[in-house]
């Protein structure tokens, strides 16, 4: 007998770890479970991002918006006060833009409810004159009060409203939906972690004999955990790619449908390049979560044996 070659001991690397545990790959349920989770997470995240964009765009658009209504029944007096109000507002420093909404535009807006007026001005239903005002900066209660006071003497029929106030309930509801999307993402992440935990436990159970052998041959917990991390990480990567493709396709199709509506507010909820990059990062986060969960599960199980 010749002496076998000397070997290095305590080397940190574990060559060909992938050979030690058989893999089911796409034939097993794990990649598909992760694919579904990732697809749902991508959809929930894109909904959250779209709502955030929509809310931010709408809020930015109306932040400095103010509507002045001249509520006066007599057409001539209404016209006079409207002209005075426009003149006064135009001269104020904090006002960036003033626009008198033309009567024709008002008529067109009200036509679906009131029908075509088509009568003499004196006989028509009195419609307030509308002035659209945009301030430099947001409409604060103090600024609103100052403007109201400045109009009170020369245009007593003027009523001022901050546009943001009208949208407050809508933006509140949108914020709730954003939180709901965030909650869904957390739940899906927890469910994914639980699925990986179960898979790791199952893999540990079905490979118990192999693990014990490696353990008794001097394999460290970290080496054994790496075998499972690698296996589950590959499953998660496969699932992540499939999930991202499914979720991304669903989001793209929905985006196209919403874009087709042509609604200004909905258009503000489109996804930008940064949003798409965030969505693309979800499978990466999923793989990292799966690897971490697998590692912690395996290490916890191994600590129970000597």
């Amino acid at each position: 007998m010749t002496a076998p070659s000397p070997i290095r001991r305590n080397a940190p690397r574990f060559g060909s770890a992938d050979r030690l545990v058989p893999h089911a790959r796409l034939a097993g349920p794990m990649p598909w479970v992760i694919a579904i989770m990732i697809a749902l997470t991508v959809i929930a995240a894109s909904a959250g991002l779209a709502l955030r964009n929509l809310s931010a765009n709408a809020a930015a658009e109306i932040a400095g918006g103010l509507t002045v209504q001249i509520v006066e029944g007599a057409p001539a007096e209404r016209e006079r006060q409207a002209e005075v109000a426009v003149a006064l507002l135009s001269n104020r420093e904090e006002v960036a833009e003033v626009r008198r909404v033309p009567d024709a535009e008002l008529d067109a807006l009200l036509e679906p409810w009131l029908g075509q007026q088509g009568v003499a001005e004196e006989d028509a239903i009195p419609i307030p004159a509308l002035i659209d005002v945009r301030l430099a900066g947001p409409v604060t209660p103090r600024r609103l009060e100052e403007l109201r006071a400045s109009l009170a003497a020369s245009a007593p029929a003027a009523r001022l409203d901050a546009q943001a106030r009208w949208l407050e309930p809508v933006l509140g509801a949108v914020a709730s939906l954003e939180w709901l999307a965030a909650g869904l993402i957390v739940l899906l992440a927890a469910t994914s972690a639980a699925a990986v935990w179960l898979a790791a436990r199952s893999a540990l159970g079905s490979n118990r004999e192999t693990i014990e052998i490696i353990h008794l041959l001097g394999g460290t917990d970290a080496q054994i955990a790496r075998i499972f991390q690698r296996s589950i990480g590959l499953d998660a990567a496969l699932g992540g790619i499939v999930g991202l493709a499914l979720g991304g396709a669903a989001v793209w199709l929905l985006g196209r449908q919403f874009a087709g509506l042509g609604s200004g507010m909905v258009a503000g909820g489109g996804l930008g390049p940064v949003d798409w990059a965030l969505l693309a990062a979800i499978p990466v986060a999923g793989v990292l979560l799966a690897i971490l969960t697998a590692r912690l599960t395996v290490l916890a199980a191994l600590r129970r044996i000597l």
Partner: protein
Amino acid sequence: MSGGEGSIVQFDNVGLRYGTEREVLSDISFTLYPGSFYFLTGASGAGKTSLLRLLYLAQRPSRGIIRMFGTDVITVPRGRLPAFRRRIGVVFQDFRLVSHLSALDNVALPLRVSGVPESEIRKPVADMLEWVGLDQRADARPATLSGGEQQRVAIARAVIARPEILVADEPTGNVDPDMALKLLRLFEALNRLGTTVVVATHDVHLLKKVPDSLIMRLDRGRLSDPTGALRYPPRREAAS
């Protein structure tokens, strides 16, 4: 127990019980010296496998002290035990081959666990398989090997990393007398290279085949010393 200097393994008043049952091993004290060849004998149920499990660090004792390679392995942190296990080769009674790996990959396991580069694995593993007469079955899975062939793969795996201690639990139990003798010669050859060999067997005929061996006998969990194996310095008497 006296002495212990220069020993590779030292058991001092070791006891082992599983759960709340009575002790399966009691007051076990002995010293193993580098380069010696020991037989551990005893009837079935005497505690041979339990004692071997303590030796290859699969089990902690309920009491007593175990020193291996100069270190108290009872108090050593769990994370340091793998380094000790890599210095011990084990032939399990039930072989414990990894079913989905080929004979070659099974034999290569200790080298891979030790982090030996793949390029340095194939040659020694092939040599080892040739040495145990299985070079033609290198790619066979354990399920397709006979009991004797599986046992030889298990032995090749136990010795491939040149362990300082080789522990074998009934290593000739599944082979014919010719192969048993051949395997014993293999252990002897390894022993001559400096490995301390501990072979558990209930086959008294086997004891006579290795003239320089020392015998420890287990009887209902207690150790006796028919050849002075437990004394220091060990008497190199032939098994009778």
